[in-house]
C-alpha cells in the first residue's frame, strides 16, 4: 500500500482532547497484551464519577443495555484519554500489533482491530509484528460439522440455538437470522457485537458473499478474572437452555469464549421477497455452495433458517491492502486532525466497492454513533432503489446486502436513470446540493460509480475537488489498469468535467489556501483478490438488473404489515389519491408527447418529489418542462388514473406526514420489477401491460443490443 501524504499532520493535543468527546472508543484490550497498566487501576474509582457525568453529555454511544458494562467502558476510555501518550500517526501501513508496551489506547484498539481482521481471513497469515493468540481449546477457523455437536445446542421450545464459539472461530453461513451476543464479543462484517447489546438481523442470501461471524473472545471487561468470566458465561448458558440440553455446552464454556444466540428471522421483507416464486430460495444456498457441496445441512442451526458453510465456501476474502486501508481509515477517523474525514471510495465495476463500504461503515460504527454516507453511484445504490442520489446518516450496522436495508435516507434526489451519462451536469448539480447538506460533524463515506473512464473519470476528479476529500480509497483488480492512480499529484494536473486544474498563478504556493478543493488527501490503493473480482456476477440474483429489482422489492416490502400474515400483492393496498392539478408529472429519461404522458405514468414507478414552486393546474394535469434537481422523499406506484374525476391513485410506503409535501411525480428509466406486474393474483380480467403473445422470435422484437468489442475477421486471425 502506498500512502500519499503531502501535508504533514500537526498534532494539537487540545483539539484531539476535544475530539475524544465525539469519538468514543469502547475499550479493546487484546488478550495477550499486558493489562497491568489498566486493570488494577485505583484511579478508576475516581474516574467512575467523571465517567457517569460524561455519559450524560455524550449521546454518541453505542447502545448498550447493561449499564455496568457501559460505565466500565468509559472508565477505561477516560483513563486512556488522560494518560495517553500521543501515538504516532500511521504513515506506512505497518501493522501496529500490540505496540510493545505502548499503552496508548489507539494502538490497543488498533491491534485488536487488526486481529479481528486477521481472523476474518481464517487466521492464516499473521501480520508483521502481530502474534495471534489462540485459545488452547479450539483452533481458530471455521466451525466444522463435527464441532457443532459440542458447541451448539438447540432450544426447541423457543426455537433458538445457543452457540459457544472459541476465540478466533468463525461461522460462515447462508440464510437469515437474528443474532445476539450473550457473552464475549463477536464480529460480523466489521461490526462488533458485545454482550448486552440488542440483537441484530443478519442476512446472508445466495446472491452475495456469505456472512461470517467471528468470535473475538477478548472479554470487554478487563477487571474480570478468568474464573468470574467462566462463571458468568455459564450462568448465561443456563439462563437460555434447559437442564438436559445445556450439559454439553457448559463444559465448552470458558472465560474467553463467546456465547451467541441465534433466532429465526421473519420480517415483512423476508416474507415479501420469498413470496415470489423466483426468490423462494433467495436465502438458501447459492449454486456455488451446492457445487462445492459446502453446506452443512444437518446441524442444530438448520431449523433456524441458516445453513453453516464449510471451509470450501470461502467467505469474504480480504487482501492485505484491504485490511491496511481499513486500519488506516479507522485510525484517521480516531485522530480527526483537521475536521472529520471525508472518505471517497472509487474503482471500476465489481471490484468490491460496495462490500468495502459496508465493512468500513460497520467498523466505524464500533466507535461512533453514526456515519454519513453519500451515494454517488446511481446503479448500485446502497440504501435506495437505483436511480437516486442520496445522503444518509447510518446508525445501524449493515449486516446484509443493499436490498435488506432500504432505509429512507435523510436526503435524496431523484435522477431517474441507473447511469449518469445522459446528463452529467444534472448529476453533478444534484450531488452538490446533497453535499451542501452534510454537516461535517461526522465522518462521511462517499461511494462513487464504477464508470471510471472518459467522462466518468472526469466526474470522479470533480467530486474529489468539489467535496474536499481527505481520504481516497481506490480499488482495483487483476492486472488490467482501468484508470490512473488518483494520487494528489495526479489530481493537481487533471481535468474534470466542471473543474480544472488551477492556473499556475504568480502566487504559487498560495494556491492551496484559495482552493479548498485542492486540499491534499491520503490515497489508499486496494487490490481486490477475491475470486471473480472485476467480473460481473453470473450466479442467480447477481446480475445488475436483478439487484435493482431486489432493491425495489425490498423497498416495497415496507408496505407489508409488521404482523405475520399473508403477503399482500401491491395492488391490494388502499391507495392515496391526489387531484391531477395538484401534482406535476415529469419524465426524466426521454421525451414523451405531453398529451400521451399518462400512458407512460400509469402503473409505473414514480419518485415522490417536492418542488418549491406551487403546483396548480386549474383542473388539468400539470407537466414539467424540464427535469428539476429537487428533493425526493420516496417512491410509489402510480396505481391508476381516474380520468373522470381527475385523480391519481398512488400506493406508497411513505408516511402520510411526509407524503403531504409531495407535489411532483418523476418517472425514470428504473422500472417496476416485472414480477410485480406479471404475478398479480386474484384480479378480475387480464392484467394490463402483460401479454402472453409477444414473440421474440421475430426480427426486431428484441431491444437494442450492443456488441462490445466486435472483432474484425483480421483481428481474430491475428489473435490466434
Amino acid at each position: 500500500m502506498k500512502v500519499h501524504k503531502s501535508l504533514p499532520k500537526t498534532k494539537q493535543t487540545s483539539k484531539r482532547q476535544q475530539c475524544k468527546d465525539k469519538w468514543f472508543k469502547p475499550n479493546r484490550i487484546p488478550q495477550n497484551s499486558d493489562s497491568s497498566n489498566l486493570s488494577p487501576s485505583t484511579a478508576m474509582a475516581k474516574l467512575e464519577h467523571h465517567a457517569s457525568n460524561l455519559r450524560k453529555d455524550k449521546p454518541n454511544l453505542k447502545r448498550l443495555k447493561k449499564k455496568a458494562k457501559a460505565v466500565s467502558f468509559r472508565q477505561v476510555k477516560t483513563l486512556a484519554a488522560t494518560e495517553r501518550t500521543p501515538s504516532r500517526p500511521l504513515t506506512n501501513g505497518r501493522a501496529g500489533g500490540p505496540e510493545q508496551g505502548s499503552d496508548s489506547d489507539e494502538s490497543q484498539d488498533w491491534s485488536s482491530f487488526a486481529k479481528s481482521v486477521l481472523y476474518q481471513n481464517g487466521g492464516g497469515e499473521s501480520m508483521e509484528g502481530q502474534e495471534s493468540c489462540v485459545s488452547a481449546k479450539a483452533a481458530p477457523g471455521r466451525i466444522e460439522e463435527a464441532a457443532f455437536v459440542h458447541c451448539a445446542e438447540r432450544d426447541y421450545i423457543h426455537n433458538r440455538t445457543v452457540l459457544v464459539m472459541q476465540q478466533g472461530q468463525t461461522l460462515c453461513f447462508r440464510g437469515k437470522c437474528l443474532l445476539s451476543c450473550l457473552y464475549g464479543r463477536v464480529e460480523v462484517h466489521g461490526f462488533t457485537l458485545e454482550e448486552g447489546q440488542q440483537s441484530y438481523p443478519l442476512f446472508s442470501p445466495s446472491s452475495h458473499c456469505p456472512l461470517t461471524v467471528t468470535a473475538l473472545g477478548d472479554s470487554p471487561n478487563p477487571s474480570k478474572t478468568k474464573k468470574a468470566g467462566r462463571l458468568e458465561a455459564k450462568a448465561i448458558v443456563r439462563k437460555y437452555l434447559s437442564t438436559e440440553t445445556r450439559k454439553r455446552l457448559l463444559s465448552e464454556v470458558d472465560s474467553d469464549s463467546c456465547v451467541i444466540l441465534l433466532e429465526p428471522l421473519d420480517t415483512p421483507l423476508t416474507r415479501f421477497l420469498t413470496s415470489f416464486p423466483d426468490l423462494k430460495e433467495l436465502f438458501g444456498l447459492s449454486s456455488r455452495d451446492i457445487r462445492d457441496s459446502s453446506a452443512m445441512l444437518d446441524t442444530p442451526l438448520s431449523g433456524l433458517g441458516i445453513t453453516p458453510l464449510r471451509k470450501t465456501a470461502g467467505g469474504m476474502v480480504m487482501s492485505q491492502t484491504y485490511r491496511e486501508a481499513l486500519n488506516g481509515l479507522v485510525n484517521a477517523c480516531a485522530e480527526e486532525l483537521d475536521g472529520c474525514p471525508v472518505i471517497l471510495v472509487c474503482g471500476a465495476k465489481n471490484v468490491g466497492k460496495s462490500t468495502f463500504n459496508r465493512h468500513l461503515i460497520n467498523t466505524l460504527l464500533n466507535h461512533t454513533a453514526s456515519v454519513e454516507y453519500l451515494e454517488c453511484d446511481l446503479g448500485q445504490t446502497e440504501f435506495t432503489p437505483s436511480g437516486c442520489l442520496s445522503l444518509s446518516t447510518v446508525r445501524e450496522p449493515l449486516l446484509g446486502p443493499p436490498f435488506t436495508h432500504q432505509w429512507a435516507p435523510e436526503h435524496m434526489i431523484f435522477y431517474g436513470q441507473s447511469s449518469c451519462e445522459t446528463d452529467l451536469d444534472r448529476y453533478l448539480e444534484s450531488l452538490k446540493s446533497l453535499w451542501r447538506l452534510y454537516n461535517r460533524e461526522t465522518p462521511i463515506v462517499i461511494n462513487t460509480m464504477g464508470w471510471v473512464k472518459g467522462f466518468g473519470f472526469q466526474l470522479l476528479v470533480d467530486i474529489i475537488r468539489l467535496f474536499s476529500i481527505s481520504h481516497v480509497v481506490q480499488l482495483s483488480s487483476g492486472d488490467k489498469v482501468m484508470c490512473p492512480q488518483l494520487t494528489p499529484e495526479f489530481l493537481r494536473s487533471s481535468h474534470g468535467w466542471q473543474t480544472h486544474p488551477p492556473v499556475q498563478s504568480a502566487l504559487g504556493e498560495d494556491n492551496s489556501g484559495t482552493h479548498p478543493a485542492q486540499r491534499s488527501y491520503t490515497l489508499f490503493s486496494i487490490h481486490s483478490e477475491f475470486e471473480g473480482a472485476g467480473r460481473p456476477g453470473e450466479m442467480r440474483h447477481q446480475r445488475s438488473n436483478e439487484q435493482r429489482d431486489l432493491a425495489l422489492l425490498g423497498y416495497f416490502s415496507q408496505l407489508q404489515s409488521p404482523e405475520p400474515g399473508p403477503v399482500r400483492p401491491l395492488h391490494c393496498f388502499t391507495p392515496y389519491q391526489v387531484p391531477h392539478s395538484a401534482v406535476a408529472v415529469g419524465v426524466t429519461h426521454c421525451e414523451v408527447a405531453p398529451t400521451h404522458v399518462l400512458y407512460t405514468a400509469n402503473a409505473s414507478l414514480v419518485g415522490l418529489c417536492c418542488l418549491n414552486e406551487k403546483v396548480s393546474g386549474r383542473g388539468s394535469p400539470v407537466l414539467l418542462s424540464q427535469t428539476p434537481v429537487c428533493p425526493c422523499v420516496g417512491f410509489g406506484v402510480l396505481r391508476g388514473v381516474d380520468m373522470a374525476r381527475g385523480l391519481y391513485f398512488l400506493v406508497t410506503p411513505v408516511a402520510p406526514s411526509v407524503l403531504r409535501q409531495v407535489n411532483c411525480l418523476l418517472l425514470g428509466a428504473v422500472t417496476l420489477p416485472n414480477t410485480l406486474l406479471t404475478g398479480q393474483t386474484g384480479i378480475l380480467g387480464e392484467p394490463p401491460y402483460v401479454t402472453m403473445d409477444y414473440s421474440f422470435e421475430l426480427t426486431g422484437a428484441g431491444k437494442l443490443h450492443v456488441f462490445k468489442g466486435l472483432a474484425r475477421p483480421g483481428q481474430m486471425k491475428h489473435a490466434k
Binding site: 440474483h541 398529451t595 416485472n674 401479454t691
Partner: protein, 588 residues
C-alpha cells in the same frame, strides 16, 4: 430469474392491451399524417415505459414514419430530408442486423439477406455512411420498402399466432453462436445420458435374469431353507460391473432402477416371484414383500454408500411426487415401500433388545445396510411433504422419529396430523394425543382446516419450525386468505389527519382494490385512448435547493451548467468560475 414466471405469467410490455397495439399499428400505416403523428406520440410514451427495452422494430418504424410525415408536410428541403431519411435507414440496417452478428464481424450484406432484406437497402446504407449521399428519390423508395418489410416481418406477425418465446433468451442477449453452442452441448450431454441410461438398463436386466434363475433353482431345491444361495460367479461379475457403473453415474443408475420392471416390479414379475398381488396390502403403510426386497438385496447391499442412499431416497421421493394417485397405485405403493425400507434400515430404535440371536440374524439379513448413515433429514422432510400420497403419514412418521435433530414434539404431531388430514388417511391413529374432545373426525371441510391452520400459525409464528416445513404450511392459508388491505378506522383517521391541508387523501371509495390490477381503476374503459390528456399546463422549474428548511439560498440558474462554489467559506467564485464567466461573456 424471470424465466419461470414469464413462461407462466407472460411478458411485460408497454401497451395496456391488444387494442392499444392494434390502434398504433393501424395509425402508423395509415395515410393520414395526423393519425401517424398520434401513433408516434404514443410510441414516445411506450419508450418511456420500456426504458431501455424498446423493441428495435418499433423504434425503427417510428423513425421512418417520422421522416414520411416531415416529408409530406412540405416544410423541408430535399437536402434536409435526405439527412433525416439517411439516419433512419442507416439505423434500421445497423440495428436489425446487430443480432445476426456473431463474435466476428460479418458483412452486412450477408446478414441482411438472411433477413430477406435486399442488397440495395444495404447499399443505400453504405452510401449514406461513407459514400455519396443518395438522392431523395432513393431515400423515399428505401423508406417505403423498409416500412413494408417491418409491417410484414414484425407488426403483422406479432401478438398474433401465440408463438410465445422467451423474453430473456433474446433480451438478455446471448448471441446466436453462443446459443447454438449451448444447444449443441446440451445435445451431446443428452446423448451421453441416453447411452449410459441404456447401459444401466442392460446391466439391471442381466442382474434380474441372474436373480430369477437363482430364485427358480432355489424354489425347486428346498422351500424350507430361507436362505438364498450365495451369489454365483456370474452374479459377482454383474454386480462388480454395476458398482463400477454407479461410481460414474449413480444418478442414471437410480433413474433406471426405479423404473417399472426393476425396483417396482411388474405384475408378471410378481407372479413369477410368486407374490400374491391381491389388494390386501395396506397402501397407507406400505411394506415390501420380502421376496422383492431379497431379490434386490444383493445389488443394494453392494451399492450402499451415504451418497447413493441419499440420492436414492431423493429420487424415490421425486418419483412419488410425480405419481398421480389414482392410476398408479401399484407403483406408488412400491416406491413408498422402498422409501420406508431404506429409512427403516437406518433406524436406531432400541426395541430389539430382547430378541433372540436368530431373530436378530433374520432381521439384519434383510437390511440393505447395517451402519446408520447420515441422511439429509431436512431435505428428506421437505421431499416427503412435497409428495403427498396415502403413505405420506407413514413415511413422515418414520422420518420424524429418526431425525438426527428431532423437531419439537408438538410440531411433529401437528405435521403428522396435517398430513393425515391432507391425505384423508382418516386418522390412522398415529398420535392419539391430538385426538381431543370428541371432535367429529372423518369429514374435514375447508373451513375446519382453515380454523386449525389459523390457530396453528398464530401459535407458531415465533416458534418457527424448519423453513421448508413452515413454507408448506403457509402455502395453504395464503391461497384463500383475503388479500385486500382493510385499514382500521383508527388508521384511516390518523392518516387523514396527517394529510389534512394537503391535496393528498386516503382513497375512501368502497373499492375492492384486490380485484383491480395495477394500472386499472374502477370504471376505466377498455378504449385504448382513455388516458389521453386533452388539456394540460406546463410549469417551468428552477433547480431546487435540497435543503427544504433553508430555502433562502435559492439559486436560479436552471439548465446553465455553472459550477457552484466549492465551499461556503471560500471566495464567492473560484478561479474556475471566473474563467468560465470570462469565457461566457460576450461583448457586443
Amino acid at each position: 430469474m424471470k424465466k419461470k414466471t414469464t413462461e407462466k405469467n407472460g411478458h411485460v410490455v408497454a401497451w395496456i392491451n391488444k387494442a392499444e397495439w392494434d390502434q398504433v399499428l393501424e395509425y402508423l400505416y395509415s395515410k393520414d399524417c395526423a393519425l401517424q403523428k398520434y401513433a408516434l406520440h404514443r410510441i414516445s410514451a411506450w419508450k418511456g415505459r420500456f426504458a431501455h427495452n424498446t423493441p428495435i422494430a418499433v423504434e425503427s418504424t417510428a423513425d421512418l414514419v417520422r421522416c414520411q410525415i416531415l416529408d409530406r408536410s412540405g416544410k423541408l428541403d430535399a437536402d434536409d430530408l435526405v439527412l433525416l431519411y439517411g439516419t433512419a435507414l442507416m439505423r434500421f440496417v445497423n440495428l436489425i442486423t446487430e443480432r445476426q452478428q456473431g463474435k466476428i464481424a460479418r458483412p452486412l450484406r450477408r446478414l441482411a439477406s438472411n433477413l430477406k432484406i435486399p442488397e440495395w437497402i444495404v447499399n443505400l446504407r453504405h452510401d449514406i455512411t461513407h459514400r455519396k449521399l443518395p438522392t431523395l428519390k432513393w431515400c423515399r423508395k428505401g423508406c417505403k420498402f423498409v416500412l413494408e418489410w417491418l409491417q410484414q416481418e414484425y407488426w403483422s406477425r406479432q401478438l398474433g399466432s401465440g408463438l410465445a418465446e422467451n423474453w430473456d433468451s433474446q433480451s438478455e442477449g446471448e448471441d446466436g453462436e453462443e446459443e447454438l453452442q449451448r444447444q449443441e452441448n446440451e445435445l451431446i450431454t443428452r446423448q451421453k445420458e441416453m447411452e449410459s441410461y441404456k447401459k444401466a438398463r442392460e446391466l439391471l436386466i442381466s442382474f434380474e435374469k441372474e436373480q430369477f434363475q437363482t430364485f427358480e433353482e432355489f424354489l425347486e431345491e428346498d422351500k424350507q431353507t430361507s436362505l438364498w444361495p450365495e451369489p454365483s460367479a456370474d452374479m459377482s461379475w454383474i454386480l462388480a460391473q454395476i458398482k463400477h457403473f454407479a461410481l460414474e453415474s449413480s444418478e442414471i443408475l437410480i433413474d433406471a432402477l426405479i423404473e417399472d420392471g426393476f425396483m417396482v416390479p411388474t405384475i408378471e414379475q410378481l407372479v413369477s416371484l410368486s407374490v400374491d398381488n391381491s389388494d390386501d396390502a395396506d397402501p397407507t403403510a406400505p411394506h415390501l414383500p420380502r421376496v422383492v426386497l431379497r431379490f434386490w438385496l444383493p445389488l443394494l447391499k453392494d451399492l450402499n454408500s451415504q451418497l447413493f442412499i441419499n440420492l436414492l431416497l431423493e429420487k424415490l421421493f421425486v418419483e412419488l411426487q410425480q405419481l398421480s394417485e389414482d392410476d398408479q397405485k401399484h407403483r406408488s405403493f412400491y416406491i413408498a415401500g422402498w422409501i420406508s425400507e431404506v429409512i427403516l434400515c437406518n433406524a436406531n430404535k432400541n426395541e430389539y433388545h430382547y430378541e433372540s440371536k436368530i431373530q436378530r440374524k433374520a432381521r439384519l439379513k434383510d437390511k440393505i445396510f447395517m451402519k446408520r448413515i447420515q441422511l439429509r433429514w431436512q431435505q428428506l422432510l421437505a421431499a416427503c411433504l412435497n409428495a403427498p400420497c396415502v403413505a405420506m403419514p407413514h413415511l413422515l412418521q418414520q422420518i420424524l422419529e429418526d431425525m438426527e435433530h428431532p423437531m419439537p414434539l408438538d410440531t411433529r404431531q401437528k405435521l403428522l396430523r396435517l398430513s393425515s388430514i391432507y391425505t384423508q388417511g382418516a386418522d390412522s391413529g398415529y398420535d392419539p394425543s391430538m385426538e381431543h374432545s370428541g371432535q367429529p373426525s372423518g369429514i374435514y371441510t375447508l373451513e375446519s382446516l382453515h380454523e386449525r391452520l389459523r390457530v396453528q400459525s398464530r401459535r407458531q409464528v415465533y416458534m418457527m419450525h424448519p423453513g421448508t416445513v413452515s413454507d408448506s404450511l403457509k402455502a395453504l392459508p395464503e391461497r384463500t386468505e383475503d388479500f385486500q388491505e382493510h385499514l382500521s378506522p383508527d388508521v384511516l383517521a390518523e392518516r387523514a389527519a396527517e394529510l389534512r391541508g394537503s391535496p393528498w387523501q386516503v382513497c375512501t371509495d368502497k373499492v375492492q382494490w384486490k380485484n383491480y390490477p395495477l394500472g386499472k381503476v374502477p370504471g376505466q374503459s377498455e378504449d385504448p385512448s382513455c388516458l389521453m390528456v386533452d388539456n394540460f399546463s406546463t410549469i417551468m422549474v428552477f433547480d431546487q435547493q435540497v435543503e427544504m428548511e433553508n430555502a433562502t439560498q435559492h439559486n436560479a440558474h436552471a439548465g446553465v451548467s455553472m459550477p457552484h462554489r466549492v465551499t461556503t467559506d471560500g471566495l464567492l467564485w473560484t478561479h474556475n468560475d471566473i474563467s468560465k464567466l470570462k469565457a461566457g461573456l460576450q461583448l457586443f
